[in-house]
């Protein structure tokens, strides 16, 4: 069954190590003071890569039923909708929130 994929210890350590390396990388790039908005794009890009590694290989979506992957992808789509529609309001206000 797809739900009973057993990762080897070596593989899990490799996944963990790649996450440690990417953590170091995301700190290291701030030492170079990349001009905006590229600093944000690089930081989010590394975070997305790390999250994908965790979701695919620690949470086993890579081997799991496609339905669970669809649930995950849908949550991301609805999250982006939430942000997108909110920003359509807040970015185009003439007077950006007087009291708070």
């Amino acid at each position: 069954m797809s739900g009973h994929h057993i990762s080897s210890a070596k593989f899990l350590w490799a996944v963990g190590s790649s996450l440690f390396v990417l953590t170091f990388l995301t700190v290291a790039v701030t030492w170079f003071h990349i001009p905006g908005p590229w600093n944000i794009i690089v930081a989010i890009g590394i975070a997305v890569a790390k999250a994908m590694i965790v979701v695919a290989f620690f949470m086993n979506l890579w081997w799991d039923s496609k339905f669970n992957s669809m649930l995950f992808v849908m949550s991301i789509i609805f999250f982006l909708l939430l942000i997108g529609i909110t920003l359509l309001d807040t970015l185009y206000r003439v007077d950006p929130v007087p009291s708070f």
């Binding site: 069954m1 739900g3 009973h4 057993i6 990762s7 210890a9 899990l12 350590w13 996944v15 963990g16 996450l19 440690f20 953590t23 995301t26 700190v27 701030t30 003071h33 600093n39 930081a43 989010i44 590394i46 975070a47 790390k50 999250a51 965790v54 979701v55 620690f58 949470m59 799991d64 039923s65 339905f67 669970n68 649930l71 995950f72 849908m74 949550s75 991301i76 609805f78 999250f79 939430l82 942000i83 909110t86 920003l87 807040t90 970015l91 950006p96 929130v97 708070f100």
Partner: protein, 218 residues
């Protein structure tokens, strides 16, 4: 038809309304993924607040994040990734019927989670000493921005909710240790270990985003 619970050959852990162990396992896991979807959207609201205020006050985020110690943030990131690794190892142990390894890996995970919370405790108290409280209780003078309290309200809400999830995770894993010691888990039945693992990995993923967004702005 006769009583379905009387069907022979089904292992004891399989509820009578499931066909077999695999179906029960897949159903539990799918249920957990549905819960994780709600968790992503739960935190999503806070990320939306973060993004809206960052678009309004970009300078505020640059100034205020200097109050956060990148070193301890990075240490906590490493601690959580390490705990994700040990949770994955504990699931592997359960799959291989190594109950001792399962318990050991759960203990390491719980310890790492406690290390995370201790570091968070010192980070919080350090800020409280300076008068950095959320919202109207903010009294710190060190940041020359009239909306400085907003950044820290968002900081406390996001890291606080994340911290609550870590504490719940510690509770869940202590529960797993107790169950494992009673011999509840085996290679045939380890569903609670699997879905607690999924929860713990999601808590890790949330922190993976919180770390660069809060600590690494400059």
């Amino acid at each position: 038809m006769s009583d379905p619970s009387a069907v022979k050959g089904k292992p004891k852990h399989v509820k009578h309304y499931f066909v077999d162990s695999d179906q029960q396992f897949e159903a539990s896991k799918m249920g957990m993924w549905v819960f994780l979807v709600t968790e992503i959207l739960f935190f999503g609201g806070l990320f939306a607040a973060y993004i809206v205020y960052r678009s309004w006050y970009p300078d505020l985020y640059l100034q205020a994040s200097t109050e956060l110690d990148t070193f301890w943030g990075a240490v906590n990131t490493a601690v959580l990734i390490g705990s994700s690794l040990t949770v994955a190892m504990s699931i592997r142990s359960a799959q291989l019927n190594q109950i001792k390894g399962l318990i050991t890996n759960l203990y390491i995970t719980i310890s790492l989670a406690c290390v995370f919370m201790v570091i968070k405790f010192f980070e919080y108290t350090h800020k409280f000493d300076k008068g950095i409280f959320p919202g109207e209780y903010y009294t710190y003078e060190g940041i020359a921005h009239e909306k400085a309290n907003i950044f820290f309200s968002i900081y406390y809400m996001m890291t606080g909710l994340h911290g609550i999830h870590v504490i719940i995770g510690i509770g869940l894993m202590l529960f797993l240790v107790v169950k494992a010691k009673k011999g509840a888990f085996s290679a045939e039945y380890y569903t609670p270990v699997e879905i607690t693992g999924l929860y713990w990995h999601l808590v890790d993923v949330i922190w993976i985003f919180l770390f660069p967004l809060l600590y690494l702005i400059d």
